[in-house]
């Protein structure tokens, strides 16, 4: 590896009294990338961001910036800036004064400040709003102020805490793209904290998945989707069907996996973890890998499961179809509109057959950490 990480979080643990918010977390953020920290609420992702910003001190471990230890450096000295979840725009200052504030406290000459502020406001398309007060701005505009205010400091790394969660759906999509463009324009690394996996998948180069203060996996969006390390990550990233595994049998390069829901499934040995203990293992299949038909499919291998048709959720170009299995569990399949048309004609409760290829089955630990 020739590229050195810009931020290196090394074995960071954070305890609040007896509660452990972060447990031995290590991540590297590379120069110029969008790095997402993803996890359910309360997993410690915001705490991690605040530790990188210097607003919180780790109980153990250290933070490196360009190989230099900055763990003890206070927030106001770090060349790292943050966009807060509430945007934290200063209510008593105009837009221009908000953006200028960070430069003013570092005693930059007035003429340079004016120039930098004008440039930053142009970057976020707020030039004509420079004299407005924050209470005259919409939520999206306030966020742009917070962005400009942080970027004008030319930070080495920009931290964003749930940047899109407070915006409405339409604005969120637009802002997603704009964040990516902005990052390409300024070139600094973005570290984005989010609980929304689709948001992380859409904008991040790499994603760290956190659960209960522990790091589950760091990978590219595709990597997380195709090769999740455990059931938690598989379930958190996109939709997935998970089955409990009751037994595991190895037989000359093949593994026979038994589950109540899908019966026995034969897969290649490389698809299953070593060993024959079925304890704590789950079988996973993505909804889009499943085909559903009203007649028994003619197949050469793979798995066929019979069930009855449940609800169909129409989503435009595709639909999510629920199939109720005899054992009581439900299976979701993701079908394109053309494949779904005959199913929509059929009555609910009609017999259907689900089929998937053995190669699409994932066998995972329920939780790896």
């Amino acid at each position: 590896m020739t590229v050195k990480p810009i931020i290196s979080v090394q074995n960071v643990t954070k305890r609040f009294g007896r509660f452990t918010a972060l447990d031995n977390v290590s991540i590297d953020v590379m120069p110029g990338e969008i790095f997402a920290i993803l996890g359910p609420s309360g997993c410690g992702k915001s705490t991690l961001l605040r530790i990188i910003a210097g607003l919180e001190a780790p109980t153990e471990g250290c933070i490196l910036l360009d190989d230099a230890d900055i763990t003890a450096m206070p927030a106001n000295k770090r060349p790292i800036n943050m966009v807060f979840q509430s945007y934290a725009v200063f209510p008593q200052m105009s837009v221009a004064k908000n953006v200028a504030y960070g430069l003013k406290v570092q005693r930059m000459p007035r003429s340079q400040i004016d120039q930098a502020v004008a440039q930053a406001l142009a970057q976020v398309h707020l030039t004509e709003f420079r004299d407005r007060m924050p209470n005259q701005l919409s939520g999206g505009q306030r966020q742009r102020v917070a962005l400009a205010r942080a970027l004008v400091k030319r930070p080495r790394v920009l931290l964003l805490d749930e940047p899109l969660s407070a915006l409405d759906a339409k604005l969120r999509d637009a802002m997603r793209l704009e964040l990516v463009h902005l990052q390409e324009q300024v070139g600094v690394s973005f570290v984005i904290v989010t609980h929304d996996q689709s948001e992380a998948m859409a904008i991040a180069d790499r994603i760290a998945v956190l659960n209960d203060g522990r790091l589950c996996q760091v990978d590219s969006p595709e990597g997380l989707y195709q090769r999740p390390v455990d059931g938690f990550v598989a379930d958190f990233i996109g939709r997935i069907n998970l089955f409990e595994i009751k037994a595991l049998k190895r037989d000359s390069g093949k593994v026979i996996v038994s589950s109540t829901e899908a019966g026995d499934v034969v897969i290649a040995a490389s698809q299953a973890p070593d060993g024959i203990a079925a304890d704590g293992l789950v079988m996973a299949i993505r909804p889009e890998k499943i085909t559903v038909s009203l007649t028994a499919p003619i197949t050469d291998g793979g798995t066929v499961v019979q069930g009855t048709l449940g609800d169909i959720a129409f989503q435009g170009e595709s639909s999510i179809v629920e199939i109720n299995l005899p054992c009581g569990a439900a299976l979701s399949a993701f079908l394109h509109d053309s494949d779904c048309a005959p199913l929509r004609q059929a009555a609910a409760g009609a017999n259907v057959w689900c089929h998937w290829n053995s190669g699409d089955v994932l066998v995972l630990a329920r939780s790896a950490v």
């Binding site: 106001n76 979840q85 007060m133």
Partner: protein, 281 residues
């Protein structure tokens, strides 16, 4: 007729006659005595009593102005109010920030002790302060130069008015977004700059409201002042009280009217300043 008997909609209750009468009665009871006081300050009545209109005159304003004792008491009151307001706001702001910001042992006890002067009967406070000053020999001896002869009263006024200021300022602090403080720090501001640029501007309306409250509390206090004032240091309310004991003359009305006008101007100014801030925010 039929229509008016229908149940009024929520925002139309002000159209009900009974409520209108109730409102008018409230206004009359609140302001009529004050209006009468102001009108009779122009009454040309020679003797006390001051209840029969005998013609218009400015004489009593002139008389009040020439009453050295009254003017001195008035000046004392203003001086005491200004000084005790300054100290009350500073102490109140410090207390409010302490209670809002920090956690420490016995905090509920401390909080209760700070707000005790708000609920304690004024007469008890007056007596206890008088005893306190007497016991420790803190009475200013006769001949102490002005304004040091007012020290006792000022200390007493600070004691009962700073908890009010603290309460008002703390209410304001509760609406502070802590993330703006962190954002300022994140942008490179020092602890002092965060206080000066972020926290203080947010506290400002609270500081003004607290100051106004402390000022009016001090200006019109009688009970505590009565117990803590020496014969050579008399405030306006105490002076008026002693004058009324001889006779109610239009002179007192005139002096009171001046005080009312002063208070109204001050309040209007403070309210205007606050509303100006609200719109510019």
């Amino acid at each position: 007729m039929h229509k008016s008997r229908e149940k009024p909609e929520p925002f139309h209750y002000h159209r009900k006659l009974s409520l209108q009468l109730f409102f008018i009665a409230t206004i009359v009871f609140l302001y009529l005595p004050i209006i009468v006081l102001v009108i009779f300050s122009f009454n040309d009545s020679r003797r006390g009593g001051n209840i029969i209109w005998r013609g218009f005159t400015f004489d009593y304003y002139e008389k009040a102005l020439n009453n050295a004792g009254l003017i001195e008491a008035f000046a004392n009151s203003i001086t005491i109010a200004v000084i005790s307001t300054i100290f009350s706001v500073i102490l109140g702001a410090l207390t409010a920030v302490l209670l809002w910001r920090f956690r420490f042992s016995f905090k509920p006890l401390f909080e209760g002790m700070v707000s005790l002067p708000i609920v304690i009967p004024e007469i008890c406070m007056g007596v206890s302060l008088a005893v306190f000053f007497g016991y420790f020999g803190l009475w200013a001896p006769p001949g102490t130069p002005w304004p040091f002869n007012l020290a006792n009263i000022i200390i007493a006024h600070i004691t009962f008015s700073f908890p009010f200021a603290a309460m008002v300022i703390r209410t304001r602090l509760a609406t502070f977004n802590r993330e703006t403080e962190e954002a300022a720090k994140d942008l490179g501001a020092t602890e002092f700059e965060v206080f000066r640029d972020i926290l203080l501007p947010h506290m400002k309306p609270g500081l003004i409201a607290g100051a106004l409250l402390a000022f009016t509390l001090s200006l019109d206090d009688f009970v505590v002042t009565f117990f803590t004032s020496a014969p050579n240091a008399v405030t306006f309310p105490v002076k008026v009280y002693s004058m009324v004991r001889f006779s109610v003359t239009p002179e007192i009305n005139a002096a009171s009217t001046v005080l009312i006008i002063l208070t109204v101007i001050l309040t209007a100014f403070a309210m205007r300043f606050q509303s100006f801030r609200e719109t510019s925010k």
